[in-house]
Symmetry: C2
Subunit: 401 residues, 2 copies
Amino acid sequence: MSYSYLSHLECPQCGEHYSAEVVRQLCTCGSPLLVRYDLERLKTEWVKEELSNRNPDLWRYHELLPVVEKEHVVTLGEGMTPLLALPRLGEDYGISTLLMKDESLVPSGSFKARGAAVGVSKAKELGVTGLAMPTNGNAGAAWALYSARAGIEATIVMPQDAPKITRSEVALAGAKLYLVNGLISDAGAIVAREVADKGLYDASTLKEPYRIEGKKTMGLEIAEQLGWEMPDVILYPTGGGVGLIGIYKALQELQELGWVQGPLPRLVAVQADGCAPIVKAWEEKAERSQFWPDSVTAAFGINVPKALGDFLVLKAVYETDGVAIAVSDAEMSTEQEKIARLEGSFICPEGAAAFAAARKLAQSGWIQPEDRVVVLNTGAGIKYPDSVQTDPPLLEIGEFI
Amino acid sequence: MSYSYLSHLECPQCGEHYSAEVVRQLCTCGSPLLVRYDLERLKTEWVKEELSNRNPDLWRYHELLPVVEKEHVVTLGEGMTPLLALPRLGEDYGISTLLMKDESLVPSGSFKARGAAVGVSKAKELGVTGLAMPTNGNAGAAWALYSARAGIEATIVMPQDAPKITRSEVALAGAKLYLVNGLISDAGAIVAREVADKGLYDASTLKEPYRIEGKKTMGLEIAEQLGWEMPDVILYPTGGGVGLIGIYKALQELQELGWVQGPLPRLVAVQADGCAPIVKAWEEKAERSQFWPDSVTAAFGINVPKALGDFLVLKAVYETDGVAIAVSDAEMSTEQEKIARLEGSFICPEGAAAFAAARKLAQSGWIQPEDRVVVLNTGAGIKYPDSVQTDPPLLEIGEFI
């Protein structure tokens, strides 16, 4: 029994293999790298029944994670988030089994914590002492916090318009924080220069292979929480798309292990209609997306005009007979309120986008009433105070309602 | 086997018993009521080993909770929050085992979700259709959200200065929201009138018996997570004090069941020096506290000038050889930053108060280096954006660091 069954890194584009024992960013061909495990050996040495006695966090799947030595794990207790039944909202959509995977219940209030936990842990194991990344806010917050716990110095660059609270998280964690009067792609250019100048570890989305492994655990948890039966549809708000790539990878690994059977769920990539490069590519049956100019949406986390892993997202959608679909900011806002009123959950705008897409796909018949549907809420609504406007009556002492 | 081993309600002041099958607020003597279970029967019918196969939420302890029928449970997946080792902070304090029970990982980002989950579930079971409560913000947010999920109409009154984000949560959930230009005690007067006028269920702190039961699960979880061994010290930021009362009650019930042995942990009630009625009462060896005039602290959740359950908090502290201690807002702020930098966690000011108290008690020798110390962080720092000031450099496109 090993703590991890990590084998090597593989390029999904040119097929090249690399050692996972040293720092490696992209493939020499420019593609992101994927982590491979010795699943054949794992199959003979591990049974899923062992899981029930493990802690309810993502490290319960340590055999399928890249950290080789347990003492390198940097954890804040992330993972095993609720898979909640939403019966009243489901009725409203006309879906009998509507489930929310609620990623608001993780450190920093965003699913970015999963990628950061595994990414930072592996960086620590590889001896990294300084890293840098561009972010739309939440990923930077998570990486800054986990880096602090790991004793790694982080440099974070985010758009000026990123959620304000994420600035506080980065600064409080003691990371170096810079704003840019532009988009995440502009922040990326600044980080690239800083990485080259200072010899830092580049923690940009998919420029290191391990963040996907953290996100992958969402797929592992969904399968375990459904008793190792797969749902019919999974909807995911897609910016960089790492979560969707990760969920797809997780389910494939579980298939190889023989832990799940039958067809994979249809994967749905949800975008905002103000930034929908993946949707456009999917409509054109293209393999890659094109840069989306002048992108704009209130769902800041999915304002990503061109994702490095776009071809992996599109592949996951094509191969599972999924779809890519865009929704408007107004639809998100309506859906956010609907979910709070019917189900008592204050979700983030990106999560609301995925729910709005579920509603549309149920209306169009693409989602059938008997489908088992899982929607990812990627973060807590409380990180987005401006998404709700209130104007309650003010009483003076001695006044009554 | 019953889902719940609920027996009856009991007055801790005059000893009177009441049925738990109908709505009951306070005892006729004015005291809060406590929920009692048939622990003798439970002892013979349930073993703690059964827990390992249950979901990681607070309903895993349903035998020790007051909801009789499983279908009345209103859940958003709350509970089984991490008990995190903080080795670097512990070293800074000179404590070898410093643990944080991290209540930021619950719905609405505050431990108030526990009380709301159990309180609202029981209200639903009792047939309640409308409730009202005063709040310093977080409890109101949690009760509004769970009430929405339960289909109960909630009326929430909070001070104008309560954290802004909690207004959004209440409003989005569709509850009736009112602000008062005063303190939680002023909000309480407005709620009392509304309850009397409209015949609503009074969900004010300790005016219904079930919120304690939700909070109690923090104590159950700490015991389970430590392998049914008790820690030496538990520190808790104390406003209304329901959590401390609940933890004390939980550990007593576990003692009666024979699941834990030996002395109870020393319980520490932590307050802000701008609002320290419990600390003053403890210093005077009094049974009850007195109203604290002109109370003020940035840790808004513990700005409670007079708690209805003060005598229960003081009893828990006295009987476990604990202490009550106040810290300054400056100490909280310093500690909040320290924890983020050393351990990567962005905690709330109330949680920071409890950590600041741990530091002081370790310095004074009241906490010994070998003590196993658990500190409650009662909520997510992201709910308090104003607790951190940042002024990062702004780069234009084309500029570099």
